[in-house]
Amino acid sequence: MKRFKTLLLLAIPVLALYTTGCKPKGASGAAATGNAAKAYVAPGKYDEFYNFVSGGFSGQMSVYGLPSGRLFRVIPVFSVDPEKGWGYSEETKPMLMTSNGFVPWDDLHHISFSQTNGEIDGRWSFGNANNTPRVARIDNKTFRTAEILELPNSAGNHSSPFITENSEYLVAGTRFSVPVGDNQDVPIASYKQNFKGTISFVSIGKEGDLDIAFQLLLPGVNFDLSRAGKGPSHGWFFFSCYNSEQANTLLEVNASQRDKDFILAVNWKKAEEYLKAGKGVKQQVRYAHNKWDEKTHTAKHEIRTEVTVLDPAILKDICYFIPCPKSPHGCDTDPTGEYIVGSGKLAAVIPVFSFTKIQKAIADKKYDGDFGGIPVINYEAALHGEVQKPGLGPLHTEFDANGNAYTSFFVSSEIVKWNVKELKVLDRVPTYYSIGHLSVPGGDTRKPFGKYVVAYNKITKDRYLPTGPELTQSAQIYDISGDKMELILDFPTIGEPHYAGSMPASLIKDKSQKIYKIDENNHPYVAKGEKEAKVVREGNKVHVYMTSIRSHFAPDNIEGVKVGDEVYFHVTNLEQDWDVPHGFAVKGALNAELLIMPGETSTLKWVPEKVGVYPIYCTDFCSALHQEMQGYVRVSPAGSNVPLTFSLGKQGAPEAEAAKK
């Protein structure tokens, strides 16, 4: 956002020049009415689409319904989430491990969905961590993060996690170029000589296993956004980049000097050939791979140590730069795969490139020199045409199924609809305020569903009741089924949403998991039934095999824990019914609580520091006797002789239980 504020300042003189090109925006009163009936979903009825929205600086992904804008779930991804125990339970902690250690808070920017034949197939959603570079896979059956892969040689994973049309790869292009290799202790001012930008191609296995297939080593620039080719352009990937000035300071001035930066066209099928031919160089690096196991309800963290790097300056026919005006941001391919739309943040035109013409320019070698050893294709030779006077500061483009594009304009705060082939502006609507990303259901695939475009705005200002200096984020839904776009609803979102995606509810709703089968629970500390509930001491570690069911824990009286012990509450929820989680909390725990799904086992670590009797209780309302779902743990001094005992339903005499053991 700060970057955009300064952009805004820069753009003021430009704005003055182009007042004829865009509508003046009044205060919130103007055109602020919405056709709410079109967004109305009656109580008890379902929405037509799931809308997966990036949580921006919250590091999470949130799920809304369209067209109602109702929030269904915040999926914890790259940040701890006490509400769900994410990053607090022993089982989930490994998911947030990186080569730097445990990272509790990151910044999630973009969403993509697994695809088959260029269409959303509903299996997985993906998100990127911008700060400590990672990608995550979310299982759409459980709405949980199933896998996180860190990216070595990257320094800010922005150009990610965009995906190919058969989910062969998702990509991860670094926002910041940095020194790569053995000597990284170099002067910052040596950017041009020493800094490199990398793009990772992450392969996706049948069961989702993420793996870095190869990395491309590229000249030092900032990679920004990207899209895979589709149909005829399948096998290619397109990345916008800025800072071709290779500035290392005051980028808002120094990286806006050139009239054009680049879109990088990558022939990844060619890269695969080189990889197969052994042209890659293996590099020793360190990066984390974390995977969730649905059977043990536990994540496994491992460090991987090798990556294969391809150098397109040597391997000549993988990469080509295409000039793109004024600090390109969005880089979007249309549903036919023929057109690639570039969007310069400071531009007042939208250039549209033709895949056919790019291929011909490469065949005819229509190059204007090279950049860092990579050929630069002549702008006109690759250009299908420019949309003239569309608005100011185009950022992102999505598509409908009728050959139309919808581009967001940050500076002029509007969505503009235009025809891709004819490059003609058809309609425009204001957004409140300063739109960033926008999203049409399926609007980045070969089969857009159309119907709505959602604006994710950067400024909220007066759209909602004020809540102090920080305001909720402002999203807006427009009906695009007619010739004219029509605002139908404002809805608030968490974090700062960047990109979002939507898919028909029918793709996933009937596959949604309801419970974990207790028979299939392979957690090493599961208690399958109260018969297996017990407390076991191993040195100073005390393992409590606890069960929960409406509405009691077993055991619920525990004695013989001592100050200095590490107590592990392994709580198995014995329920086998949908929507009956149990919670677990112990007084004074420095580590949040647990929320345990039916049939699941979760572990809370507790290190009591003071003598006393500590209540435990269920934190998630479960039945009429939920308030009775409680128990006690007695903590004695270190070295005490109180024997380890546990019981349930034994009034007055836990010693009896101890005697039985």
């Binding site: 008890g44 009825k45 379902y46 419970i515 089968k517 207790i518 028979d519 399958k528 039934g529 109260e530 018969k531 069960t547 069911i549 409406r550 509405s551 009691h552 077993a554 014995l574 329920e575 086998q576 019914d577 009956v580 039945s623 009429a624 006797l625 339903g649």
Partner: protein
Amino acid sequence: MKKLLLVLGVCGFIYACGSNSSTENKSSDAAENKTPAATENPSNDPNRGIGKFTKVDVGATLDATMAEAGNKVYDVKCASCHKLSEEKLVGPGWKDVTKRRTAEWIMNFATNTDEMLSKDPEAMAQLEICLVRMPNQGLTDDDARHIYEFMRKNDGVK
């Protein structure tokens, strides 16, 4: 006689509710439960409960294998709330339950819990005593049959 009237009255009430909710179901794709209320079924037998089990074949003697399988299911999914004695824990103790209820009623209740708790007069009466809705524990048809055999064993069938 008074009791019968009461039961009929309750049935009538349930019937009305059932019709209402089924009308609403038609207009709502959100509603899951589209089974018609059992009271609309003229062949309904209140002793059998509501659900798929209309006739369970029960042997004269115990099937020990089934009872053993039932015991295993009991340990994981039932024992938290039901004792094998007469003592009520969260739910009623199981002693003599096979003498109080038919196999069909027990198996329908175990597998079609929510509908039974909302519509079956006997299950509803039990809920008024326990006040904790019995969880649907995701039993398979076989699980339910095995549990029933285990209950028979608990009730002394050899």
